[in-house]
Symmetry: C2
Subunit: 216 residues, 2 copies
């Protein structure tokens, strides 16, 4: 017990700067890329001496790995909170899509960085992305499976594909906005809604096939 307290306080003491370093690393990695990011800059952003960085993380690679693990932990924690389903497909999917889209926008630079350098840092990138996104995917698949049981969702659709399509639509939308910022004739909100409508139309039983709300 006492030992545990000692360890706690010590790790907390270290965690102050350690977390500052992690946060700074995320920021610098995001905008400069892993190769372009320098340990000096990360330390400067963290308001910490560069040597301290190497005392916490033996190398730049290990810092990246720690960043990956840190993000995965954050996402896993954030996942546990959001689960209010009203059992109305359109409403639920729209809510999910908007939250997911907001998350994509928040971590835009980081996501793009991981996409670009995915095959250069295989273990770290994979660990983050899998641990961060696969649970969300499973959760949504399970929700749809539940909808099938209740008759809200057609039983003849591949739910894995459907979920990947929805998240893929949102990811692609975010990438378009940031990589090719060209006037496309519609707003981000309208795009998200349109994607949800697309999926709902495809998932809903045939009887309601011609529902398209007057909005947009």
């Amino acid at each position: 017990m006492r030992l545990h307290y000692i360890k706690m306080t010590h790790s907390n003491r270290g965690a102050k700067t350690r977390e500052r370093l992690l946060k700074a690393a995320i920021e610098v990695f995001s905008i400069a890329g892993v190769v372009g990011a320098t340990t000096r800059e990360i330390a400067r952003v963290a308001e910490v001496n560069e040597v301290t960085l190497f005392r916490h993380f033996q190398s730049k690679e290990q810092l990246l790995a720690a960043v990956a693990q840190h993000i995965a932990a954050l996402k896993a924690e954030a996942l546990d909170r959001q689960d209010e389903w009203t059992q109305d497909l359109q409403c639920d999917l729209l809510h999910y899509a908007q939250i997911h889209n907001a998350m994509l926008e928040e971590n835009e630079a980081l996501i793009r960085m991981f996409i670009g350098e995915a095959k250069r840092h295989p273990d770290a990138a994979l660990q983050v992305l899998q641990q961060a996104f696969l649970p969300l995917r499973d959760k949504l698949i399970n929700y749809l499976r539940h909808g099938v049981d209740q008759g809200n969702v057609r039983p003849d659709v591949d739910l894995s594909i459907a979920v990947d399509q929805l998240t893929g639509l949102l990811l692609a939308g975010m990438l378009r906005r940031h990589v090719m910022p060209v006037e496309r004739g519609y707003s981000s909100d309208r795009y998200v809604k349109s994607c949800v409508d697309l999926m709902v139309q495809s998932l809903s039983p045939i009887s309601q096939s011609s529902i398209y709300p007057p909005n947009s």
Copy 2:
């Protein structure tokens, strides 16, 4: 005429190594990123002395710009060939999607690189991506607009969004395959077909709302 011939042969003579350099640059940039790529490595891959690289392109940045322009030219050229429309929505979109998907797979590393470093090399990246993808987008939009006139496509859908959704679905699929190579329970072919079905279902007039072929 004589002068033109002189210039031709000279530029051709130079173009041999110039093109080798461009090809090598694409290769190295793709797998190492712009920052990670070294002029030494590019020259080595091109089987050319490093000094020659700097004689053709004064700096690494200008080499990147030349690569961008080169790619844009290639894509524009490739676009002119492919335009056989049978006026059957399902068939045409599937054909387009498969070609587009093959293109995405071919240039996978390069596309991921540009996504990751988009905001670091704004002019070059924008030039390439816009010149390469926007014409394709316009072409597909025009095709659908034609479909509206002929009654094959519902008039109440936003064609810009629809096209962006289809290409977005394909892009996201490619990225998933390469960034998160996890067993997802379906093949790439099946995914592409499913995406086309999704769009066709959404685009087709209401009368045929319950068409879903037995394949897949």
